[in-house]
Amino acid sequence: MNPTLQGMLQFLQTWWVELTCGVVIVAVVPLVAGYVVLVERKLMADMQARLGPMRVGPHGLLQPIADAVKLLIKEDIIPVESDKLIFWLAPCISMVAALTSMGAIAFGPTFQVARDINIGILFVLGVSSLGFLGIILGGWASNSHYSILGALRSTAQLVSYETAGGLAVISGLLLSGTLSIRGIVAAQENQHVWFIFLAPVAAFIYLVASIAETNRAPFDLPEAESELVAGYMTEYSGFRWALYFLGEYANMIVVGSIATTLFLGGWLRPFPNWKGSGLIRSDIVEVGWNLVPAAFIGLVGVYCIYRAGKQPAKVQTAFMWAVALACFAVAAVYAIPALLVVLNVGGLAGSLSATVLPGLNGAFWFLLKVSGYIYVFMWLRFTLPRYRFDQLMHLGWYILIPLAIVNVFAVGVAMLLEANGVNRWLSMILTIIVVLVSAIFLVRWHDQRTESASSASLAPDSYAG
């Protein structure tokens, strides 16, 4: 055989899992982002007592595809006075950074593009933060006042909140003692607890910081439409705009994955160490948990069939049936290996399902947790009004960053106490009390400061511009 061909075959043989995962991520993330947008619109409509998108497909299920087609065939405008090279490059930077950082995330015990790198969580944080180079460059290249103001705001916001978010991540890393993503999840499995219960303050700070980092309401100042039209994206249209949009939603998935990995136990199912006791035998517990994903997806399918009868047109009924069948197919993919393992089928099928099952289950729980995290994002978006820019900066610098620093110290002290024989939960509760008390003091101090400042009627913050 030709040596080049042989080399390529060998390369493929070594790397096929990684290559497949990478292609799957690049192919699936845009679709997922589209459907996240649909969920967001439906949820917003529900909270505002509307129906939301209903026209394209039943309950607007095909809306993302229609949107994508519309964006692709829209006229692509490059402003005359803009910097062409950077204008062209900026959206790509945003998108590529978000997708690259996904490479290191472990979506399950087996589904990961990069082989478990020792600096996994740093890689995800660092590379995803490169995305805002795209924002700032795009804002500059557009040569428009709205764009550049949006870009400046976004940079200031990201730099401030990245500090708070990074310190919150450090609290979690102290507990896990490793930077590798699998190591973090394994630490939570070995310590029999998700880190959100040990460091709830850190998890909360990370939640706030991650909302600010993904430029979402109530911190969506960079693209506040009432002030800045669309912020850094004002001059973008068509496919370039879509790239920014995808980058933003991919970034949401990335921060959701970081939070899931670090605070919500990654791909572990709830109660991973509880093997049953007394009458409840451990194998029954195992089987029950293995069948949960299939049951969950199957129930979605059943609900689709229930809704199918209520559709106004035959096409839509048929479409709902198709969705239900797809759900059942996925449920079968989950159920069959679980059942094969239960029935203890030997041979190829049995061993294959035994190897496939943990990965499938892990991916299910991981994606469920990430979806929950993104759902909280949406809740907050429709619940809270937008901050003013100086309020945003004050919240970041005067409250979140000091609180995160206090929290890092407190978690360290708690771990020291635990190492010296104090009960783990007692020490953790003590730290939480300390941090909360310092939070109260910080907020009161800040309120007094701003009150005295406003009574002196100083000019508003110069960053607010």
Binding site: D83, I86, N118, I119, F123, L133, W140, A141, L152, T155
Partner: protein
């Protein structure tokens, strides 16, 4: 084979990027090419199995310093194209720099030729497992062997930070007074 392809890829990008940093007439373009160069250098670090250095380069230089660079360039708005800024004795400086760099490169090539196997380039590569938990190894040496220099460096940075804040505050006060 793959290693050398990757090395020449990253090294080539770094060199081309560095050349473009100097030659481009737009300050923002220079910054973008500098980012490219820094990322390519990070790639070489990763290839040397120094993964902590790789990510520190990305987070600190690309994610931190370069963003501030771009921020400053955007705020200052260098409307004067940089190539119009001329200074005296330009050619003298250029000749001096070229002479020093050329001497350096010549010395490296000469020494490497002269001492094959133990020259400047060819060192025995440390086996990967020796370097394996890169960030842990680095932390160990920073916080045990080199604790004092590490603390001195951090105090130095703190002093610089406090100094910057004080200067900014002073400027604001004088503006208010006037």
């Amino acid at each position: 084979m793959l290693d050398s392809i990757l090395f020449y890829f990253f090294a080539g990008i770094a060199v081309i990027g560095a050349a473009l940093v100097v030659t481009s007439r737009n300050a923002i373009h220079s910054a973008v090419f500098l980012i490219t160069t820094l990322l390519a250098t990070a790639g070489i670090f990763l290839q040397l199995r120094a993964e902590f250095l790789f990510i520190a380069q990305i987070i600190l230089y690309v994610g931190g310093i370069m963003v501030l660079f771009i921020f400053v360039i955007m705020l200052v708005r260098l409307d004067v194209p940089l190539h119009r800024l001329r200074f005296r004795m330009k050619s003298l400086v250029v000749i001096a720099v070229i002479a020093v760099l050329g001497a350096e490169a010549g010395a490296i090539i000469y020494l490497a030729r002269k001492l094959p196997g133990q020259g400047l380039f060819i060192q025995n590569m440390a086996p990967p497992d020796k370097l394996a938990p890169n960030s842990e190894k680095l932390a160990e040496s920073l916080f045990s062997g080199y604790l004092l220099p590490f603390e001195i460096a951090s105090v130095l940075l703190l002093v610089a930070m406090v100094g910057a804040v004080v200067m900014a505050k002073n400027k604001k006060r004088t503006e208010e007074e006037s």
